[in-house]
């Protein structure tokens, strides 16, 4: 721990000593610019301007919208210098691409949207700390619902490629079918939940759709009651029911009691196996053929406590 604190202190001092002052430079440059009006912008960027007028940003009935401010220059800044610098680099205005730091791009959006309820916890967002800016996901002029640059989940998969791969597995939530969205569970704008989930615990999130699992049951299965993710993965699995690994091994990892829980179940105990007895249903759903109430039971005695009824 001491070593960690020491390392962080060194980094802090290093940053302080070597930090560049580009932000200050940008501010002084802006002082000499002036607004030219959106008609000038539209003369070159007619398509973009038309889209802006139709968009939510072009609504004059929204009191603080860009339409009631400087229109295009509300976000892009004064355009006087841009008129003489229409090229690809150093265009003289704020452009929403990687040439400008993510924080600076987001600040343009936050100037109006900071007080939005959905952005109340943006400062806690993993996206913010990872230098993801608003315009990485949102298009200011065009777009789908919420002005996203692409529909979910493809938009999210642009960065979260491991999740794309998991979601394509044979057992998955209906994400790629479009029945649910990433944002049904996650809040990309930040929040208190781990992994930006929209709940205070994993189980609370899962119970929103799987309310029958909420119980409360007389016989609880502690790993189930504590965290669904002990046995399930959220995005996709090769194994049915989004299980982390296949039954019976998943169960045997915890249950090695005498008799059938600790027994070795091999290929010979399957439907096609040659074992003449003691298969104990290594076939079909294996343990779950009998112990199917693993999420909780109100059954009598051991039939309930062992999830058999």
């Amino acid at each position: 721990m001491k070593r960690l604190v020491f390392s962080l202190s060194i980094l802090f001092v290093l940053s302080l000593a070597l930090n560049d002052r580009s932000a200050a430079g940008n501010k002084s440059a802006e002082v000499n610019m002036s607004y030219v009006g959106s008609e000038i912008c539209a003369s070159c960027h007619a398509g973009l301007y038309d889209a802006f007028v139709k968009s939510v940003h072009g609504k004059k009935m929204i009191p603080d919208s860009p339409a009631n401010k400087k229109e295009c220059e509300s976000c892009h800044g004064p355009g006087s210098e841009h008129i003489f610098k229409p090229g690809r680099k150093d265009r003289g205005i704020v452009v929403f691409n990687s040439q400008i730091a993510a924080k600076e791009r987001s600040s343009k959006c936050l100037a109006c949207h900071e007080e939005s309820k959905s952005l109340a916890f943006w400062d806690m967002s993993k996206h913010k700390s990872s230098d993801v800016s608003c315009d990485n996901c949102h298009s200011i002029h065009y777009g789908t619902e919420k002005y996203l640059k692409a529909a979910e989940p493809d938009l999210c998969f642009n960065c979260h490629k491991d999740i794309r791969s998991q979601s394509n597995k044979q057992s998955h939530h209906p994400l790629k079918e479009g029945a649910i969205k990433c944002s049904d569970c996650h809040n990309p704008m930040g929040g208190f939940g781990m992994k930006m989930v929209k709940a205070d615990s994993v189980n609370e999130l899962c119970y929103k759709c799987h309310s029958e699992k909420r119980g409360p049951f007389m016989w609880e299965h502690p790993p189930v009651a504590e965290k669904c993710l002990n046995c399930h993965v959220p995005h996709g699995s090769n194994h049915s029911k989004l299980l982390t690994e296949k039954v019976p091994f998943l169960c045997q990892n915890c249950h090695n009691e005498i008799g059938h829980p600790g027994t070795i179940y091999t290929k010979l105990e399957t439907f096609k196996g040659t074992a003449s007895s003691g298969k104990n249903r290594m076939f079909a759903k294996a343990c779950l053929n009998c112990h199917s109430n693993v999420h909780g039971s109100n059954g009598p005695l051991a039939r309930g406590s062992h999830w058999l009824r």
Binding site: I62, N168, N256, G259, T263, R281, F283
Partner: protein
């Protein structure tokens, strides 16, 4: 309905003071399919069949607006959504959608009453001629009705209200042991008739420097069937004296939460989240159980015939974020979460013993800090540490202490390239309490078991990725992640999980001619476990170090999953902005196996077994191939035509389902009456569709 009337009436009165636009567009598609094999798997979450599919979008936009969207009209995936309101003042929405989940079509059972909570058969034993059994589908459909409104006109105050009802209906496969232990398994088609009503109200205030929000979430779950009565073929159960399988109880849930944030000097913000919730259920308990032999009902003495379930949770989050100087982001956080089980403890007395349910609860304290440093040379370093202490009411491991360290470095020194590397280490300490039983008690085996969900472990994750865009029309990325977890104190149970994955993506645009894309993902995971086999009546030999005998020995299993997928596609602009041809091929493959090892010492393997014939080579193996050809022709700016052909082939093989038998045996530990749930999942499908879209 009232909301709709308001929505439709208001624009008529006021809209003409402003410019408005109406944008309706419709799309009609005809689909023809040819499916061989398992249609339920093909349509697991879809409803693709021969017929006409409609899609409608109607937008009215002025100072008031409404936006209506409908898709898959009349199908199991239909979705309707109406958004409306007045810009800057209020928003309303109405929503209806369906989600099917198909498991198996054409399942079979000797029971009558499938779909109800009474399963019976006329004469004992049941007819074993499966040709006489009835067929049914395992399928569950969700229907969700929702609506809500939000007021912006009272800024800086806000009120959001959302209500929904979800109806879930269908049949789902569950199972019960006919007799226990060692009896047959009975697969039961369980009726699903659930209704969940939810209400969320949130009100608050948001104006710099303050954000305050108070919200109430209510959820009421109702199950039409609390018990499934079934005639048990393992006993001489009569049609009138049935066995009982318990189903999820009704429950009520509320959550009250307060969230807030306040800006402080030095670009600092303090955020908090305080929440409390309660879930309750009330269950009339069974005061009998069915005798394994006679099938008659044996009375039980219960300390209380009604189980009152009550789970309370408390959650407190405190987070201080700060960006005092441009190159430093800091975050300090604390989270407390407690799950308290205040349910009834019920003692049940019967001839076979006395049993009292234990009440599981836990609490977590999680605190830590995260610092992000924007270093010179376009480096961004994020370091994080958190400590989690978990205390739970559980005999084996009542306390866990987790220390999690992570460091992530991002370099974006070149306009066209971003490089990221990261490392995370987790160390979990566990206070293990061995069972307090005599060495000849069967429970003594648990002295050596460390259950993976709470076992002490060390976990290391390394990751790296690079995104390169050397030209505006070329993007390339590659990512790698390696994860190793060692359950270091484990004698019996899961010992380690090792795996890695990588992905490669590229896309390239040929001017106005075409856009190409390709990807490849690979993942390999290996689970290792070590177990001990003992006979059912064992009173000794629990120590894993005991010399093996043919009946008492250790064994191990290594499960490996190798998955990969790739895709290649092209959007070819045959006539730019007029005719586009889309070609796409995707391939997904999973190859799993299990490698068993008997640790028998000098003892021979059981008769008929060799180290080779026991291993499993098909363990959820599957391939999914998809080919898509689609052509879209924009006849005019308003009218477009599309023709598409999709070929999809899914091949599935698994040792547990290969050679599926509805009745592998009718008695003993090989016995089961199954229904065919999840069998034969392979399919092959050809789908052709033609669609016409018109934008008025």
């Amino acid at each position: 309905m009232l909301l709709v009337m308001i929505l439709f009436s208001l624009p008529v009165s006021y809209s003409f003071a402003y410019e408005y636009r109406i944008e309706p567009d419709v799309e009609l598609s005809g689909k023809l399919d040819d499916i061989e094999g398992n249609e339920a798997k093909f349509n697991e979450y879809r409803d693709i069949r021969d017929g006409l599919y409609g899609k409608v979008h109607l937008l009215y936009d002025s100072n008031y607006y409404f936006d209506f969207r409908a898709s898959d009209i009349g199908y199991d995936t239909q979705h309707y959504k109406l958004d409306g309101g007045k810009w800057g003042s209020f928003k309303v929405y109405l929503d209806y959608f369906e989600i099917p989940h198909n498991f198996t079509f054409g399942a079979r059972t000797f029971y009558s009453g499938t779909g109800t909570n009474n399963l019976t058969y006329p004469v004992h034993p049941p007819n074993t001629d499966i040709r006489t059994w009835s067929t049914f589908d395992y399928s569950v459909k969700r229907k969700n009705y929702g609506g809500g409104f939000a007021f912006d006109m009272i800024k800086p105050f806000f009120i959001d209200v959302a209500v929904s009802r979800e109806e879930k209906n269908g049949i789902y496969p569950m199972g019960a042991a006919g007799t226990t232990p060692g009896g047959i398994a009975i697969e039961l088609p369980v009726p699903v008739d659930y209704t969940t009503d939810t209400l969320k109200i949130e009100a608050g205030y948001t104006k710099n420097p303050l954000f305050l929000s108070l919200s109430l979430f209510l959820s009421e779950f109702e199950n039409d069937n609390h018990k499934l009565n079934f005639r048990n073929p393992a006993t001489a159960n009569t049609a009138s004296t049935t066995d009982v399988f318990t189903l999820p109880p009704d429950n009520d849930y509320y959550k009250l939460s307060f969230r807030g944030g306040v800006k402080l000097p030095l670009n600092t913000k303090f955020n908090l989240n305080l929440a409390t919730s309660r879930a309750t259920s009330e269950v009339r308990l069974l005061d009998f159980l069915v005798d394994d032999v006679s099938g008659g009902r044996v009375p039980l003495t219960l300390s209380d015939k009604t189980f009152d379930g009550k789970i309370d949770t408390q959650n407190y989050n405190f987070v201080l974020t700060s960006n005092p100087v441009s190159f430093l982001d800091g975050k300090v956080f604390y989270k407390y979460y407690k799950r308290e089980n205040k349910s009834d403890e019920i003692t049940t007395i019967a001839e076979e013993g006395t049993l009292t349910n234990s009440l599981f609860g836990y609490k977590k304290d999680d605190y830590g800090a995260e610092f992000g440093f924007r270093l010179p040379a376009s480096l961004n370093l994020i370091t994080r540490y958190n400590h989690v202490r978990t205390e739970r009411k559980r005999e084996d491991v009542p306390v866990n202490k987790d220390d999690i360290y992570s460091v992530n470095l991002k370099w974006s020194g070149l306009d066209f390239m971003t490089l990221k590397v990261g490392y995370e280490k987790m160390h979990r300490g566990a206070e293990f309490h061995p069972p307090d039983v005599a060495p000849d008690d069967p429970e003594f085996i648990n002295t050596f078991v460390r259950r993976f969900d709470v076992a002490a472990k060390d976990s290391d994750t390394y990751k790296a990725s690079v995104d390169i865009s050397p030209a505006e029309n070329l993007n390339f990325s590659i990512g790698y992640k390696n994860r190793n977890t060692d359950y270091k104190d484990v004698s019996l149970g899961r010992r380690d999980v090792k795996g890695y994955e990588f992905d490669i993506d590229a896309d390239y645009t040929f001017g106005k001619l075409a856009k190409l894309n390709a990807y490849y993902d690979y993942e390999k995971v290996r689970y290792s476990q070590f177990q001990r086999r003992l006979p059912f009546n064992a009173t000794s030999g629990f120590y894993p170090s005991t010399p093996p005998t043919p009946a008492a020995f250790n064994w191990g299993a290594k499960q490996k999953d190798r998955s990969y997928e790739y895709g290649i596609g092209a959007d070819i602009y045959v006539i730019p902005k007029r005719l586009t041809l889309k070609l796409q091929h995707d391939y997904i493959r999973s190859n799993g196996d299990v490698d068993f090892t008997y640790h028998l010492g000098d003892n021979p393997l059981p008769p008929g077994r060799t180290q080779d014939n026991i291993d499993i080579s098909n363990w959820d193996d599957y391939t999914l191939r998809t080919y898509t050809v689609k052509s879209t022709y924009n006849v005019t700016k308003k009218l477009s035509l599309s023709v598409a052909y999709v070929y999809e082939k899914f091949t599935y093989s698994d040792a547990q389902l290969d050679g599926y038998q509805l009745m592998p045996a009718t008695t003993g530990s090989n016995g089961a009456f199954l229904t065919g749930a999840y069998k034969d999942q392979s399919y092959r499908a050809n789908v052709v569709y033609v669609s016409i879209a018109y934008r008025f």
